[in-house]
Amino acid sequence: MSDNKVATNPATNEAPLLEVNNVRVDFRIVDGTLNAVKGNSFEVRKGETLALVGESGSGKSVTARAIMRMLADNAKVGKETSIVFKGQELMKLTEAQMQEIRGNHITMIFQEPLTSLNPIYRIGDQVAEIILNHRNVSKKKAREEVIRLFKEVQIPEPEARFSQYPHQLSGGQRQRVMIAMALANEPDLLIADEPTTALDVTVQAEILTLMKRLQEKHGMAILLITHDLGVVRQTSDRVCVMRYGEIVESGTTEQIFGDPQHPYTKHLINSEPSGHPDPLNDELSVIMEGKDIRKVYKIKHGSFWNRKTVDLIAVNDVSLKVRTGETLGIVGESGSGKSTLGMSLIKLQPITAGQIEFLGKRIDPLDKRGMRPYRTDIQVVFQDPFSSLNPRMIIRQIIEEGLIVNNIGSSSAERTKLIRKALEEVQMTADVMDRFPHEFSGGQRQRIAIARALALQPKFILLDEPTSALDLSIQAQIIELLRDLRRRHDLSYIFISHDLKVVRALCHNVIVMQNGNVVETGPTEDVLVNPKTEYTQRLVDAAINIRA
């Protein structure tokens, strides 16, 4: 793939800012070598945004780290690799010379703003340090410079913020500080590694707009690394699509999205959630009902002698109804109480007040033992398929557990039959039964987690962000699987998500939550097309109208 050069634009004759030729990175691992990046070439021109797009494990982050020469110890960069930045071969520089380039001419922002700032230093000092390291200015001058930068990245009250610590800032604001840090020495190239992935959808849009504006103002080039096609479409000029460490296709954003050539690119673009839930019959019985559910966390603070408690209201008198066969979506930003509400409904967490009815019977006063008979009917699929399967159990044991504790199937052979059936339902073969979870990919694990729930033949499943940890193409498959299962078994779902695109594809009705309160509720299409509150409007804009 080394000859896969991006077609040069005849209008710009000047040499590209960054020229990456035949970059190859190998990792030494337990038994052998992993070829993470397999000889890619691309170039970034002055003032443009190039997006490296790919699913997890495609080698896009490793490529970025190779440019910065910040790879892990067990990585080896290929001999033919050449990275030319402003006419200078980076691979030949000493570590000291490279330091001069990093943070000065090429800067990088990372995806996790919670961990990329040092928690024990004031944010102003952290940004000032970058300036003082690379420029010969006084401390006072550096402080003025930092405050100017904070203004530029639109941090409110920059003077006051200067002496604050990272934990006093929200995720979005921290990412703004990171951007300010990256801009401090007016770099020629900014490498942004998934800059918005860890942020709430509404904040994502703001950060992207800010980056775009700053780029125009300073004329710097951006190398954007992301898995999110929405982000790419909104911000980049050109795109390189990566898969298994290789660039499979590259071109301008219009070319890639308008007329994709490589089957993988087509597949990626087609994987965006689409379609609508099957229509519902109106005359259906209610399966799950919550009345005025309230969940309060008591937070203790104050000294030993003067102990005070503050009530944190996570869920504030929420009522909801799910009918048989219905899929109810609960959406909201992180911290809006949607997961707490879900876990309370299935009694994995006690509630402070309110009533929960399942098939007309009250289940909220039941204890662990009392809930046993209902456990087969009420199931749950969690967000993170990497932690929801016990790493020390084989798949058979994982699925069998529910059958054993609920006395389903009298013999081992009978249970095996049931396990096999459940695996079939999620389109997995029976030979996976004797394997451990770590042998499977994220999408496969999520299927196994669904099979574990299905083995008990439930009537109701709580889906807690089941697709948000998955790559786009896998996400589309899981959505299709969930739809199909609902159709076949007349299942009812509560689907918790922050992604309105997925919610639109799956849910009949939707509840929008903010800070523990329900701000809007109704049929999904109505809510998405005519949002009544500004908050919902923001969520919709961020998820669906991002292209506009």
Partner: protein
């Protein structure tokens, strides 16, 4: 372009990406569906052809660690010595040689006094008194030559209820052989050192196992149940940890009945070490379990209706087991050291049992130390075994580290 091992990608992400990717993008390699997909929601992604189980992975990583491997080999050797000490040692632990009190170590010679190559032999000592200092000197005496042989008959020893009388080596004609010399009663230091391995290691394993089991049960349950039970257990742990160890050991040990059977004292001595030894591991595991309690697989087990016992023993315990093993390899050398120390002071293992520490007890005064420094030989075994078990534990800890990729 193709990976050397096609299965490599499946189980192990490169370190670089796993640090960079977000929590929702944990750097695992997705196996993609056939491209373009055959049909939407079609057959699930292909399963990796081969991959390693966790224990295989640990084994593989451990084998790369030379320091740990050397430790493991020495550990196995020491355990072998402990089991077959009767066979390896030329004498029983209580056999005395009244003609050789404080006799110095003998050298195995393959060159005869005449200067020619001879079969391996040792020389007996002729005693000679320095007339100025009245110090008795031992001089190798070419007249008293004792040839060595394998598999000779000697003192009886028992293993698994059977009695044997063959020893790995000895002298052909039953003349004395003391490779590391003898003590004040004429007992062979080398033999006693090998026999002492058995008691010392038995003590080590017994204390480690018992405190490991008690500590695991207390720690895991306290972390999982929380609440009042946790409060109670943790205050108990603090109470135990707040004692000054050494004076307490001495007091408790001195309370043991002196006249009682040595085996009974041994058990009670072990009991005291367990009593104070379980607290550390329980606290460590409690913390681990508390962070694990919120994990989704535990909640998923709750959601299918699994009871507390099942969650404790099927989910939590197997997942902290590697911690327990690593703790055990660190605890064992500590117990060995503690046992040696207390026995050295004369309050630990009692005669007729022999441990490394109780052998050192005879070198308590300076006089016997300067007269017979070879009686310090068990120190070498103590140092060697502590180093070996620590090296093994260290290697094991590195190999079990899920984030290690090298």
């Amino acid at each position: 372009m193709a990976a050397r091992r096609p299965d490599v990608e499946e189980f192990s992400p490169p370190v670089g990406t796993s640090q960079l990717e977000s929590p929702i993008d944990p750097g695992k390699h997705e196996v993609d569906p056939a491209i373009p997909p055959v049909e939407e929601g079609g057959p699930a992604e292909a399963v990796a052809a081969t991959s390693l189980s966790y224990s295989q992975l640990v084994m593989r990583r451990f084998r790369r660690n030379n320091y740990g491997m050397v430790g493991l080999v020495i550990c196995i050797l020491i355990i072998f010595i402990a089991v077959f000490s009767g066979f390896l040692a030329p004498y029983a632990s209580s056999t005395t040689d009244t003609r050789a009190l404080y006799s110095p170590p003998q050298l195995i010679r393959i060159i005869s006094p005449e200067g020619t190559l001879a079969r391996p032999h040792v020389l007996g000592f002729a005693e000679d008194m320095d007339m100025n200092t009245f110090e008795i000197k031992f001089i190798p005496d070419p007249e008293q030559r004792a040839n060595l042989a394998f598999f000779v008959k000697g003192d009886e020893w028992k293993l698994f209820g059977l009695t044997f009388d063959r020893h790995l080596f000895g002298t052909v004609d039953g003349q004395p052989i003391h490779l590391l010399g003898t003590d004040g009663l004429g007992r062979d230091i080398f033999s006693r050192m090998l026999h002492g391995t058995r008691i010392t290691l038995l003590m080590g394993f017994l204390v480690m196992l018992a405190s490991g089991i008690i500590g695991s049960i207390m720690g895991v349950s306290s972390g999982y149940f929380g609440g009042f039970y946790d409060l109670f257990v943790q205050r108990l742990v603090e109470f135990i940890k707040s004692f000054p160890d050494l004076p307490l050991y001495l007091v408790l040990v001195s309370l043991l009945p002196r006249r009682a059977d040595a085996a009974l004292i041994f058990i009670m001595f072990a009991g005291i070490l367990v009593l104070l030894g379980w607290a550390d591991v329980s606290r460590e595991l409690r913390g681990k379990v508390m962070s694990m309690r919120g994990l989704e697989y535990v909640r998923a087990a709750e959601a299918v209706g699994a009871g507390s016992g099942r969650i404790l023993f099927r989910h939590l315990l197997p997942n902290v087991f590697s911690h327990i093993i690593v703790w055990a390899t660190y605890a064992l050398p500590n117990v060995i050291l503690l046992e040696s120390f207390l026995s050295f002071l004369g309050v630990g293992v009692q005669a007729p049992m022999v441990s490394w520490g109780s052998m050192l007890n005879q070198v308590l005064d300076f006089q016997s130390f300067s007269a017979a420094p070879w009686m310090m030989a068990p120190v070498i075994m103590i140092v060697l075994s502590v180093l070996a078990f620590n090296a093994f534990g260290d290697g094991l800890r590195d190999a079990m580290d899920p984030y290690s990729n090298v």
